[in-house]
Amino acid sequence: MGPPPPSHRPRKKRKTPTAPGSNNNLILDTGDGKQSPAFPLVSFLWAARAGVSQWLILPLTLMAVGLFRWAVSLWGYSGFEVPPMHGDFEAQRHWMEITTHLPIFKWYLYDLQYWGLDYPPLTAYHSWLLGKIGSAVDPAWFALDDSRGFEHPDLKIYMRATVVVSEYLIYVPAVVTFLRRYTRMHGVHAWSASIALVAILLQPATILIDHGHFQYNTVMLGLMVASLDAILAGRMLWACIFFVGALGFKQMALYYAPVMFAYLLGVCVFPRIRFLRLVNIALVTLAAFALLFAPLVFGAMSLEARKEFASVTQPPLLQSLPITLDKNSVAYAVLFQLTQTVHRIFPFARGLFEDKVANAWCAIHTFYKLHRFEASLLQRASLGATLASIIVPCGIIFRHPPRFASPSSLVLRFLGILLVHEKSVLLPLLPMTLSLAGDGGLNKENRAWVGWANVLGSWTMYPLLKREELRVPYIVMTLLWAYLMGLPPLSLETYRSRSSSEDPNSQFELNIFTKLLHIIFYALMIGWHVGEAFVPPPPGKPDLWVVLNALIGAGGFGIAYLWCMWKLVTQCCQSNRRASEEENKKKQQ
């Protein structure tokens, strides 16, 4: 008889965490046996390198970054004292007003000229909840119609607090759990993970837009991170649900959709076709969408709603449907509601670019006026170009789903959206910044690139932030982040070669081309700020500086896109090579 089978399954071997900082070169050896931190953020967590309980570090980190968020929120917001339309702050407040006072079927119909609801249902529900709580504090804040343009310090505090609370309930836990799983998978030391967490949570662009300009992007981003976390954990169905949540909160998450789609499809096809999994994923996604729209649909079924729908003009989408229905039937009401919602959420009637923003379209427009083309043609061209830019990464992700080593890093490396709205720069910045937590994520090369993209990202927002008197928070938050990460314009340390031949980390030194490129861009940004501040634009071109900002930004993001693509491809090759080596080993045995 052979030995009895072991009574328990041996625990899955975790990769043993390496010594602190060893794979991230966080600690510099100054030569005389002393060690020093590689960049200022490391110094702040220096005392924790020997390992301090997460129960201490995590609350302190969250409190510290929370203080910065709240301090930024003391400043002005979008549309403050700018009647008649105000800005995003008023839009969000208005949605709280209409969702709490109107029956659900009127949400997407009510006075569309004044900030009509044009975000997906989850935002509407979120607004409803916040509106209910806020009305309990002071009903005047959200009184129907009377509260338009309401500006009271208390209301500002309440609204600011809702952003912080929403972020701390969704984005922060998602990022924390994601990082924990991600760093464990990569065998990254907890100390290095803590450093990455601070860097991620202090991302200037996100803070400035959400807590300065006023939006709830972090809710959407948080759901997206939760979805990534579920992918890491191998819970594909949860990934679908969270992703639908992100999509249902803000349609901007649609830019992530092709990658998610390619990835989830890839999981079902490689290494072998798993049909059942595909069906499950499809069903869960559909169910999640159904749940998302259920309150709207039920709301549309009432008699009152049907009367209302019969009397107003049909949404264009419904007009284009080949079927005709009785205007008083339930089916018509439901269909009306859905098409109206979709019509509001995807306003193809809007122009290609809202303002001067850093995307390729705007860049082209400066040289070749696009107005001569029809809007529909432009929309198609935009869609085509966006698709083209994501087809390659999607293909790679589809072909190489989670088989080896680091599936997530593949997803994370993804960046490739031609930006349509200046705030969508947050979308590619999120996964790029999350990659700081990966294996070697804090090494010079990755830090330089991610930092550069982040600084560039918040720099392209400057024209927007300037309008809202957010110059000081912009300067402070961007420079603070650059300082903590040891980046220009405050430090050239990252770009200084200190490699010796025996240094194992010398492979992470930046090559001369990268250095030159980054330095040029930093110089351009500084030069732009100086010019913008002191040189008035020539009379014929009042938007000179804004357009220049957009042009430089578009160029930079193009380069960042190419870099991410390059990393994606090389990582893919590496993981393939590693896999085939392992297979060979197995064969030899």
Binding site: S43, M63, G66, F68, A71, V164
Partner: protein, 501 residues
């Protein structure tokens, strides 16, 4: 020994970033006070500085501070000349706010410099502790709340004080005395600490260390000339113009009441708490109730508090008490005039004046916390006396900021600081030579655990239960009494440590 990270400069930069972001935060009337002083010093001849009374916030700091305002006003003229007009009461343009807030951050560099001198002066073995202690002072929630939100120049003032204390350690007691004399001419609240300086300098500098009866005349002459010189520089011109009595009236306004608008957590807060508690019992005990006073305290806000049952307290009585309790630690300083004892005596003088002083403002708690921080890490006994003070002293500052927007700032920052530094202090503080007093430790732990529910009750639950209007004074009184308990407890604890060390 390796460098300690983060360095003072790194912390100053990051804290500076946060402080710049606080520009639009709530600012108290002290902002207008300082703007008014900028205007007075800039637009009037020196002879009128202490007579000008267009604003109710007349100049009531000593001449050096007025000169400091004058220097700043030279720069302010380039930023926004309108803030320098005496008649522009309550003027707060964006430029004015940027300018004044920036001067607070900028002058705090004196504190950074003083702290770096302190770390350098520390002995090799205690370098890490000194570094941690100076970080705790630099990031102190007290300075954060009072200077950068409420608005004052304490960072600058305490920077000078610490510089003076450090100079005393580096064997240049003369320089230390000069700096302290100059500090007194900036802000006269430091007179409370002057007895400790007097005794220390007399014993360690003017008299022979081995023989008390042998004075060192050369030292006495040097010290006397320098200190008198400093005071002559500050007050001489005003004596010349015959304005010194006016200055005295401005600097020492005795017409104010025993307790300040908000109750500083001292003996008198406990005294009035006891007074309030006795009111329902008075008929049964057969005590006479002063019915006028009944309404006075319940207002809980600005006004002179008077007592319903317990006897009134006069300013002479408070001075006598303060003086007596300052003398006690000075006796030890006289017999053991070394630097550690000196800082301990300074701390105890701060305690005595804070606990028994007349019209003490809760901001004065920094007078205890900051000198104490310098020696809190001497060993664990010192630290355990410091702990309740750190909690009580900072929590007692909360009522200074009552606006909703600043509530998260003050609480989160203070809790952050308390968790971080109490934890780090706990790791760094060395084991004492003498055993600790067990009971005292447990009591202080019990005290700490009460802090969080109390803060939650006072800032949230109370309003939920009683609304904003009813029993408004209750949370204030709870906080004040709780903090008073902590300060008094840590005072007694430190007395024991001081005399047994």
């Amino acid at each position: 020994m390796a460098e300690v990270y983060p360095s003072l400069a790194q912390c100053a930069i990051v804290a500076g970033a946060l402080k710049v972001l606080l520009f639009p935060a709530y600012k108290s009337t002290d902002f207008e006070v300082h703007r008014n002083w900028l205007a007075i010093t800039h637009s009037l001849p020196i002879q009128e500085w202490y007579y000008e009374k267009t604003s109710e916030w007349t100049l009531d700091y000593p001449p050096f501070f007025a000169a400091f305002e004058w220097v700043m006003s030279q720069a302010a003229a380039y930023v926004d000349p309108a803030m320098l007009v005496v008649k522009n009461l309550g003027y707060d343009s964006w430029e004015t706010i940027y300018f004044q807030r920036a001067t607070v951050i900028f002058t705090e560099l004196v504190l950074v410099y003083a702290l770096s001198r302190f770390v350098k002066s520390a002995l090799f073995a205690s370098k890490q502790a000194a570094h941690v202690a100076s970080l705790s002072i630099l990031l102190s929630p007290g300075l954060f709340i009072i200077d950068h939100i409420h608005f004052q120049y304490n960072g600058f003032m305490y920077g000078i004080l610490i510089l003076s204390i450090v100079l005393a350690r580096e064997q240049s007691k003369l320089l230390s005395a000069i700096v302290f004399a100059a500090l007194l001419c900036f802000k006269h609240i430091y007179l409370y600490l002057s007895l400790a300086y007097f005794v220390y300098l007399l014993r360690a500098y003017c008299l022979d260390p081995k023989n008390v009866l042998r004075p060192r005349f050369w030292n006495i002459i040097k010290l006397g000339t320098c200190v008198v010189g400093i005071f002559a520089m500050a007050f001489g011109p005003f004596v010349q113009w015959g304005q010194i009595l006016q200055l005295k009236d401005r600097l020492f306004p005795f017409s104010r009441g025993l307790c300040h608008a908000y109750w500083a957590p001292n003996i008198w807060a406990m005294y009035s708490f006891a007074d309030r508690a006795l009111i329902p019992l008075a008929p049964r005990l057969g005590l006479s109730v002063n019915s006028e006073a009944l309404n006075s305290v319940t207002r809980g806000l600005v006004g002179d508090t008077s007592f319903a049952i317990l006897p009134e307290i006069s300013s002479q009585q408070t001075f006598l008490l303060t003086f007596l309790f300052q003398l006690v630690p000075l006796v030890k300083l006289w017999f053991q005039p070394d630097w550690d004892t000196f800082v301990g005596a300074l701390t105890l003088c701060g305690y005595a004046s804070f606990l028994f002083g007349w019209h003490v403002h809760e901001k004065a708690v920094l007078l205890i916390i900051i000198p104490f921080s310098l020696i809190a890490l001497k060993d664990r006994r010192h630290f355990s006396a410091f702990r309740p003070l750190a909690v009580a002293g900072h929590v007692s500052l909360f009522p200074l900021l009552f606006t909703a927007a600043e509530f998260p700032l003050k609480t989160v920052y203070t809790v952050f600081w308390l968790i971080l530094f109490l934890f780090v202090f706990d790791r760094v503080a060395p084991v004492p030579e003498r055993p600790r007093i067990f009971v005292f430790d447990r009591l202080s732990l019990l005290y700490l655990t009460f802090a969080i529910p109390l803060i939650i009750y006072c800032s949230l639950l109370h309003q939920l239960i009683f609304g904003f209007e009813r029993l408004q004074f209750l949370p204030l009184m709870f906080m004040s009494s709780y903090s008073a308990l902590g300060v008094v407890g840590s005072w007694i604890g430190f007395m024991v440590v001081y005399f047994t060390a």
